[in-house]
């Protein structure tokens, strides 16, 4: 008799799992094997790693291929392509032949995707922008997960008043409209001229930490809710009782009995969370309350490109394609991880 009926969602179980009785394997090893067999999820993982690697190689690209500093305006510069020398900002490129239009995509190593309206290399900027976007996306997701995990473990484990207070606090953050909370925090923090000083911590107004922390705070309840529920039910399990009977301390119970059992939920949530935080970061940066100049992120480049949309569309299109690819890869990876670690779970994060 099969104890465990797999969903017919393309998950094939090993002989060991169906009770063929060969070797005992840890749940992690089994999950790893299931993930390795999911080709689409693996392709998504490869794509994501590739995007991260390419983005972090941005300085190499800028220095050795594009030979440019993408943070310095190059208004009067020239570039030589196929033996012809052209202005980076060409005169009268628009419909009416007025004003200056940056050079379009050259499909050569110099100005591969053209220049923006300050004559900066768009391709190099997109790579640098990826660094900020990925750093903030991954950083804020990690921060949200870390904070949520601590609160969920404490609330779920101790229950009672502790749980009631923490859960109501989380409900409050949850009830506050996400973009509005981020907008309020960002306007106040970014408009203060000397940055923010809390005690001995000093944060410059253009620091990447500001969007990172704002987005991190906003998403804490999204991770807190599913994990707290799980901790609450784990607390009543026999193996926890057994550990209590053996005289284990609260800390020991939390770290060796409860934590390992919620780890898979956190891992399943992570890619979906990073996908969400990257989208949020790009939206905030597009509204000019995320990453601040001179730093760039995919969102700020899309905003730069908006003025040039009808003349030089690649400035806005290229970073958007990067966002779509990254987020899509993370969403597919998240689905694959969920199937591998927890085939019957209903945990889903909203995109």
């Amino acid at each position: 008799m099969a104890v465990f009926e797999p969903e017919a969602e393309g998950i094939v179980l090993d002989a060991e799992e169906t009770g063929g009785g060969i070797v005992g394997r840890s749940p992690w090893a089994l999950a790893g094997r299931r993930l390795a067999r999911n080709r689409i999820a693996l392709a998504a993982l490869v794509l994501f790693v590739l995007i991260v690697a390419v983005s972090f190689a941005a300085p190499l690209y800028a220095k050795h291929l594009a030979h440019t500093n993408p943070f310095e305006s190059n208004i009067s510069g020239t570039v030589t392509i196929d033996g012809k020398t052209r202005q980076v900002l060409e005169q009268g490129g628009g419909k009416l032949g007025l004003g200056e239009t940056p050079i379009g995509p050259t499909w050569h190593s110099h100005y591969l995707l053209g220049a923006d309206n300050q004559g900066r290399d768009v391709a190099a900027r997109v790579l640098y922008g990826g660094r900020s976007s990925l750093l903030i996306g991954i950083g804020s997701a990690l921060m949200a997960a870390f904070v949520a995990l601590i609160f969920a473990l404490v609330a779920g484990f101790f229950g009672g008043w502790t749980d009631a207070i923490i859960s109501r606090l989380m409900d409050l953050i949850w009830a506050f409209p996400l973009y509005l909370l981020a907008i309020s925090l960002a306007t106040v923090l970014l408009t203060s001229p000397h940055g923010l000083t809390i005690g001995f911590i000093q944060v410059a107004a253009d620091s990447l930490w500001i969007p990172l922390v704002i987005i991190g705070i906003v998403y804490v309840p999204y991770i807190y809710r599913p994990i707290r529920g799980q901790v609450l039910s784990l607390r009543e399990k026999e193996f926890v009782e057994a550990a209590i009977a053996q005289g284990a301390s609260n800390l020991r119970l939390i770290f060796t009995e409860v934590l390992p059992n919620v780890a898979s939920t956190v891992i399943v949530l992570m890619p979906l969370m990073i996908a969400t935080t990257i989208l949020t970061e790009s939206a905030l940066s597009y509204l000019s309350i995320g990453v601040q100049a001179p730093k760039a992120s995919w969102g700020t480049i899309i905003q730069d490109g908006q003025e040039l949309l009808y003349t030089r569309p690649w400035v806005a299109i290229a970073p958007g394609i990067m966002i779509v690819l990254t987020v899509l890869a993370l969403n597919i990876l998240g689905d694959g991880l969920r199937d591998a670690l927890d085939p019957r779970s209903k945990v889903r994060v909203k995109g």
């Binding site: 973009y179 509005l180 408009t191 923010l196 000083t197 806005a316 969403n331």
Partner: protein, 322 residues
């Protein structure tokens, strides 16, 4: 049910209070930030700063300041934008129909198409169409809405505007429904589509998962055993149960969009709704406007989510006891 209603409404009041306190703390009590200077906008005169200091009681204790802020916002409703020197609240009220038009239209589109996609994927499970539709849905939830809007503008306003396909597309902007219904429709058509893409993808995925889950329930087997046609099982039994989640999700998303979530779409398409008003105040650092839209939108969302919970409890008695 009565106890549930009372509990839910009390919680709503707590949330409303907490939101105003939070907004107050963010705007008036962030350490190291001078609220008077911030409220006054760019390059304020010394007199403006002094009058703001007086009006909001910035030299007095925190509870008094909170009371003054609430008075200006809800009782005397005389907050003044320091950018445009107009009253904030009438401005917000006059921008609301634009946001409502945008969100209503998008909601109709996303309900119809997500049900079609979700049901089609669940029914066609096992064929190539199911994964194909689900990948499309996944792409839909991975595209940033403001970028999609730019691409749509690029195609319909510039690159293919002179072709027969898009020559009917009017310039970006908004015409009130009462003034010219046809123009209203034409200008909102692409914003509606753009805004609904994310929700079509998300709802189709949720609906498909729900349909498949419900399909293994005993009462569905009973329905089949009674000899009901597949169509009847799907529409009268499976789909009906699956719609409960769908409806509660819809209520919340709709509220969030009206309360500022449609901001990005409004900015890209130049629709002068509440979102664009907030955005314009952002670029000119007009804090009274931002403060007001944030509080009013948060109130709207809180009220709507209380309403959704009550409807949900009415539909599903189990929720009342939770």
């Amino acid at each position: 049910m009565a106890a549930f209603i009372i509990r839910r409404l009390l919680w709503m009041l707590v949330v409303l209070f907490a939101i105003t306190v939070l907004v107050f703390l963010i705007f008036f009590a962030t350490p190291g930030v001078d609220p008077a200077r911030q409220m006054a906008g760019r390059n304020p005169s010394a007199a403006t700063i002094r009058s703001i200091k007086h009006e909001f009681g910035l030299d007095r204790s925190l509870p008094v300041r909170y009371g003054l802020m609430m008075k200006h916002m809800f009782i005397s409703r005389d907050l003044i934008s320091y950018g445009s020197h107009t009253r904030v609240i009438p401005e917000v009220v006059s921008a609301t129909p634009v946001t409502l038009s945008l969100v209503f239209g998008a909601a109709v589109i996303w309900i119809v198409f997500s049900i079609l996609t979700g049901v089609a994927a669940a029914v066609l499970r096992g064929t190539i169409f199911d994964p194909f539709l689900m990948i499309l849905a996944l792409i839909g939830i991975s595209v940033p809405v403001f970028w999609l809007g730019e691409v749509v503008n690029l195609v319909t306003q510039s690159r293919l505007h002179d072709s027969f396909l898009f020559s009917w597309v009017p310039p970006l902007g908004y015409t009130p429904l009462t003034q010219d219904p046809f123009m209203w429709f034409k200008q909102l058509f692409f914003p509606w589509l753009t805004l609904s893409v994310l929700y079509i993808g998300f709802y189709a995925r949720v609906l498909r998962a729900n349909l498949i889950e419900t399909d293994s329930e005993d009462y569905i087997r009973t329905a089949r055993a009674k000899g009901l046609s597949e169509r009847r099982v799907l529409f009268r039994h499976t789909l009906r149960t699956s719609m409960i989640t769908f409806v509660s999700l819809f209520g919340l998303d709709f509220a969030v969009l009206v309360g500022g979530g449609a901001l990005l779409t409004e900015v890209v398409f130049g629709l002068p709704g509440v979102g664009l008003l907030t955005y314009n105040s952002l670029t000119s650092l007009d804090l009274p406007v931002i403060m007001t839209t944030v509080v009013y939108a948060a109130f709207f969302i809180t009220l709507a989510s209380a309403l959704v919970d009550l409807v949900y409890a009415w539909l599903d008695p189990r929720v009342r006891l939770a």
